[in-house]
Amino acid sequence: MLNPIVSNKKHFLIYVLSMGFILLAHFIILYFSFNFSLEIAISDAAIYTTMIFLLGIGIWYIVKYLAISEQKYHLILADHLITGGILVLIWLFSGYYSLSLIFKDETRYLNFLDDSLPWRFVYLIMVYALLVMIYYLINYYRQYHEKVLQESELKQTIQQSELNMLKSQINPHFLFNSLNSIHSLILADSEKASEMLMELSEFLRYTVRKDHNEQVSLKSELENIEKYLDIEKIRFGNRLVVEEEIDEACLNCKIPNMILQPIYENAIKHGVNESTDTVTISTKCSPVNGDLKISIGNNYSPGNLSKRGEGLGLENIKKRLKLHFKRSDLLEIEKSSFYFTVHIIIPKIEPEKIES
């Protein structure tokens, strides 16, 4: 880890300011309380504070080396006593000798310097302890911050993989039945077969693409669903009718990709598959209070009333919407004895958010 003082301009400024404050306090005491000359007061304060300033930066490396979590407390304490002791003695005596050399004719000051040695010792020990404490706190905070960051990253990864799982997967029943229809068309009407094969390929490509972009426009989702329904229309012939009522203004809205697909699969599974009558699947998209409202409905055979549970597919959509928008009230089911509708609300996305 980098030295928190040198590596950050703001931290360095704070460090310089607090050292300046110490220097000022040191000077004031010598100049006003002990009435030494300006020259002496400045020199004494400057030399001692400069040494604290320089060596103080170095204490970081001692703290880093003696990280609390990695060693036993009494060992760390012993190490600090030794390094701290040596450091303080270097501070104390290099200051003492340089000052007594500079002011070798000032007897009152030299006497004062001798007398003040124990106090200076205590003062420097305190500065050392304070710096060590601050460094440990910084260290602790950084580790904590990193841990939080890691945890949130982990959470995000889990959410992402959960989302991938919830995204609809290709239904094998649909796939093989479509292939069978294509096979049938090859035998009877090769042009129509090629048409259906293209549609199936495009649908599959859209479904299997590994797109990191979770959000897609409503337009591209609807286009894909149109392909899906076109394929099913070939399979089921006149048993399936598709109706659409889309407000143009909605087409550029972003929605989580493939989120509507399971609803159509359900409509096919419970509606068309189980009914001998024509089933109409209708889609409505419109802006409601600034949100996007999507309603997908289909009629179904009344005999299948009890069959119509809120299946896994809808449960998954609910979960996905919750993961995306942090709301659990975005999906609503309306059910009568012959008609089934799913309403989905995609909350308004702020214009600024789109840009960023």
């Binding site: 029943h173 093989f176 292939l179 229809s181 049938s184 001998t276 009890s306």
Partner: protein
Amino acid sequence: MEKTTIKALIIDDEELARKVILRYLEKHPEIEIVGECENGFAGLKAINENKPDLVFLDIQMPKINGFELLEVLEEKPLIIFSTAHDEFALKAFEHSALDYLLKPYSQKRFTEAVAKALSRIQSGLSQTAELEKLNHENEKREDYLHRIVVKEGSQVHVIPCGEIITLEAADDYVEIQTKSKKYLKQKPLSFFETRLHPDHFIRVHRSTIVAVSEISRLEPYSKDNFILILKNGKEVNVSKSGMKLLRDKLNF
């Protein structure tokens, strides 16, 4: 005449799927197609009317599916299943010697299946044992029943599970009481206990299963015994273990 023609019926809800079979059968002049049906009900009717020797049967269909159709058939013709992809169905097939075609399939594969069926018909063997086995395997499916198919004389009824009030054991049969009628089905009650959704149906007694939504209230009968009063006024005995199930499921 050396060969008698073989009568075949195609039951599949998708027209394009039926067309493949029709096309393939062009190479089998010995087989005469007596009908095409697009759902299980129509298929059942056609089987009873035309008495085909061979049936090409899809599984997933409206009204009643392929398995349900087999369940209510008395005289079973030879069956070749033609299906897309159904994990449960495949598992069931693997446990019986029946032939099944996975969509899409080739003419070659189709011919093999037909040849197998023809040799069976000529040797006079029936498929009954295998179909029984298939039925049995199919009962182990993990999904819950949505409807029950019951045959009554020549009529076939499809009972949605939401219509059921109680199921009661009566000898080899189960008496199914719905909101409008009573039906008999030849199955043990334990079958329904495992295949009906446990959130909606509770076996309150050795001989009775009740629909949770039909329960009106519970009344003490003697010191340890309770009776359930259903919404239609009917009273049902509750056994000790039934009481425990009720407590667990309904949280009281």
